[in-house]
């Protein structure tokens, strides 16, 4: 519990506290001999800068917040890895918040972040309520949206084109010769699910089919278990020639249901997932999927955020929209 402060270091090195601070923050400003002496004292005493004091005085911290919808989902995990890598490279700490889809929890998390006077927040919002984010901005906290398009022009956002993704996925299925397609989706309250459906319908239309014929099966959660159930329903209701799932977890569940029922994949039914999580390739019948630059999403969002924080005058807000990439594997031949 030996709290050694900058003053102790100063005394030990025979300089003033201000000089120690300079060694810490602008080493170039201090004469080499003095610097060495101070550094020696720091090591000898085991001094660790008090971040809170620093934040208080300097007016800003080296901390960012990350608020995700489901830390259990490999998609967000990979985003978090990207965020953590960049933040750690630049000496920033990451405070993690898991909203678990609840706006209440998200609010609580944002409040904690505000109290910590984080430099900025990376968030995949749970809903479309932008007021809370604007409130953060009023407190001088930058906000970058992750996997979500921007609400407003003076804001950075990094997203992936879900409409294009849905379109490419279904176009791929149709190109294989499928004429009937089912869409297994998560809750349609989720923006991504809606936009992927929209893309799927676009693809039907482009192929001269009636988009109304896209058979939509809505699962209550986006898990393998829910996918298995949806797969069973599909079998009971008459199989289409191809199935497009809103994410890989659903697709793995559907795959399992089909194989159990003796349906051959892809011969009888072609199957596509979305996200290209690791397990898509590792599945026994490897799963075709739409790859998103997930890790990059996290990296770039963090880079934008820190640029906005560190260079507010030169920073240009950007709305980045990635294009997903089709990965064809066994499940679609």
């Amino acid at each position: 519990m030996a709290m050694v402060s900058i003053k102790d270091v100063a005394a030990h090195a025979g300089v003033s506290p201000g000089t120690v601070s300079n060694v810490l923050n602008r080493p170039g400003k201090v004469a080499p001999a003095t610097r060495e002496r101070v550094e020696a004292a720091i090591n000898e005493l085991g001094f660790v800068r008090h971040g809170s004091a620093s934040t208080l005085r300097a007016g800003h911290s080296r901390t960012i917040g990350l608020s995700v919808i489901d830390i259990g989902n490999p998609f967000f995990t990979e985003v978090a890895a990207g965020v953590e890598d960049v933040a750690s490279e630049l000496g920033y700490a990451v405070i993690l918040g898991n909203s678990a889809g609840s706006q209440d929890k998200e609010d609580r998390n944002l409040r904690v972040l505000a109290e910590h006077r984080v430099r900025g927040v990376l968030i995949t919002p749970s809903g479309e309520d932008t007021a809370r984010l604007d409130r953060l901005r009023e407190h001088g906290i930058s906000v970058v949206l992750v996997d979500h398009p921007a609400h407003r022009p003076d804001q950075c956002a990094v997203a992936v084109d879900d409409v294009a993704g849905g379109r490419a996925a279904v176009a791929h299925l149709l190109a294989r010769g499928a004429r009937s397609v089912a869409y297994v989706t998560g809750p349609l309250s989720i923006r991504q699910c809606v936009e992927r459906r929209q893309g799927a319908e676009d693809a039907m239309r482009a192929a001269g089919l009636d988009p109304g014929e896209l058979k939509v099966a809505e699962a209550t959660t986006m898990t393998a278990r829910a996918g298995e159930k949806a797969g069973g329903d599909l079998i009971a209701g008459g199989l289409p020639e191809a199935v497009f799932c809103a994410n890989d977890l659903l697709a793995l569940g559907v795959l399992r249901a089909l194989l159990r029922a003796g349906v051959r994949v892809p011969e009888d039914v072609a199957l596509m997932g979305y996200d290209d999580i690791d397990f898509a390739a590792a599945s026994t019948i490897s799963l075709s999927s739409m790859r998103q630059p997930t890790y990059q999403l996290g990296r770039i969002a963090t880079e934008l955020l820190l640029d906005e924080c560190d260079n507010p005058e030169t920073h240009a807000h950007q709305h980045i929209m990635f294009q997903p990439e089709l990965v064809a594997r066994e499940s679609t031949q």
Copy 2:
């Protein structure tokens, strides 16, 4: 950027800053009428307490650190979910650090945590170097080990019995009639891998077999890709009757290699994983595995840590050792 401080609130409510502080921290101490007036002022002005100032003065923060080895591994993700839930319930923020198996990175992360004067740290250490953790304790930061036995008595730790897990897994395989068993492991620098092997050997011994006959295949990483390669090697080198893998990712890879080669699972080869991640059950041939109370690991570790922080005088250090549970699925019949 309207930084409204406790002083502004005080002025607006016609009280002193001290009273506002009391409303915030010991609402009971202040007369109801005054309290209401202050609360109204807080809402009206949109005041948010400055956590750093609070930390600086109070000498401790409402923040804990979480340092894991691989945030991409579903095991740690689930631990993190448990940690986050408890922390959030008690109003603590969680600073996330991903050591990615590198001691350097872990060191950097611990330094950041120390600077933030976190209340305590939850860590799954990358190696066996305990000095760094002791240094944290000297700075008054409590440390709780997660998925790792305690280094010392005056310390909490929450772990799972890996020797027992390895023993149960291989005993299960032997009980099915297997006489030859292979162990597909991650790097033997990882404690868990070593202990699971030890348990496996125990089980051989208990069944009257020579533990030296356990065929050990060491993969460089604990991923499905590495497992697939190991599976190929196994096939090339002559198949055992049963395979035990150090985690589920490896097992899924082995499974894929076997099925591709036309080996029937479990008829020709029985297969066991470890961790019981969600994808074990979702695999086409569902995978038998050793279930660990992963989420609970995170929850309980956090509860212990916060108890140690909040009730230092009554807190009793605990070394909790969970027993893993065998989950038999298709891959072992």
